[in-house]
């Protein structure tokens, strides 16, 4: 561990978990709901735009926060436990994103047979944006939910 990790923002575990729910809710409902319930002219209802903004700002906060920075850090900045955590979070992120892509792929086949909903070009771009933002925030979210609750004072000893 040659260099120290010095994130610009440090949040408590509870705050990080709360933000992660805002990201998943805001991005998930904001982008998916906005795409499904788009007006006939393609415009997204304001409520969904608001949810997207909440999700986006929460994702940025999680990204620059300590756990998000840990997932971006180079090997030299982390010890072996932190490297293992970082790697696990990326494996889990990869699995979740593959499942989401595969799920959408299956839906795109099924939708042809049942005449189900498929996004237009605008909605597809929106969904892609939501997917990208979620994948950016997911490693930090996974770390926040995988972390054990520890008494900070005990750890400082």
């Amino acid at each position: 561990m040659k260099q120290a990790l010095n994130p610009p923002l440090r949040l408590s575990l509870r705050t990080a978990r709360f933000l992660s729910l805002l990201v998943l809710g805001g991005i998930g409902i904001g982008y998916l709901g906005g795409a499904v319930f788009a007006a006939p002219d393609g415009t997204t209802p304001m409520g969904f735009l608001g949810l997207r903004l909440i999700g986006l700002f929460s994702a940025v906060a999680l990204f620059i926060e300590g756990r998000g920075q840990l997932t971006q850090a180079s090997d030299a900045m982390l010890d072996e436990r932190e490297r293992a955590l970082r790697d696990k979070s990326y494996v889990a992120t990869h699995q979740i994103m593959i499942m989401a892509l595969f799920g959408f792929f299956l839906w795109s086949i099924l939708a042809k047979f049942i005449d189900g909903w498929m996004p237009g070009r605008e909605q597809a771009l929106d969904l892609l944006s939501g997917f990208a933002i979620t994948s950016m925030a997911l490693p930090g979210i996974i770390l926040a939910w995988g972390e054990r609750v520890v008494d900070d004072a005990e750890d400082a000893g």
């Binding site: 010890d79 072996e80 750890d155 400082a156 000893g157």
Partner: protein, 87 residues
């Protein structure tokens, strides 16, 4: 005893650290890890690599199996009673 399919590694790190009068930060600096990692090790929430295990044993000047074991350690009080009885 297993934790998610992997054997639990028992350790006496907290005991040795307290006896040596080292803080977690001091010990972490000596073995090149984050102080939080020492806490995780002491609570048994993380099993160290062989390299880290050996480094920790070197700090206390003991063999690595004195610090870590796959079997639970006998409580110190019980060990003292046995030692006193044998003497």
């Amino acid at each position: 005893m297993t934790n998610n399919g992997t054997p639990v590694l028992h350790n006496r790190l907290a005991l040795f650290r307290a006896e040596a009068g080292l803080s977690r930060k001091d010990l972490a600096e000596q073995v090149g890890v984050n102080p939080q990692t020492i806490g995780f090790l002491e609570r048994g929430h993380y099993g160290p690599s062989l390299e880290l295990g050996l480094k920790l044993a070197r700090v206390f000047g003991v063999p690595v199996e004195t610090l870590f074991s796959l079997e639970p350690f006998t409580p110190l009080a019980q060990q003292l009673i046995v030692t006193k009885g044998a003497a």
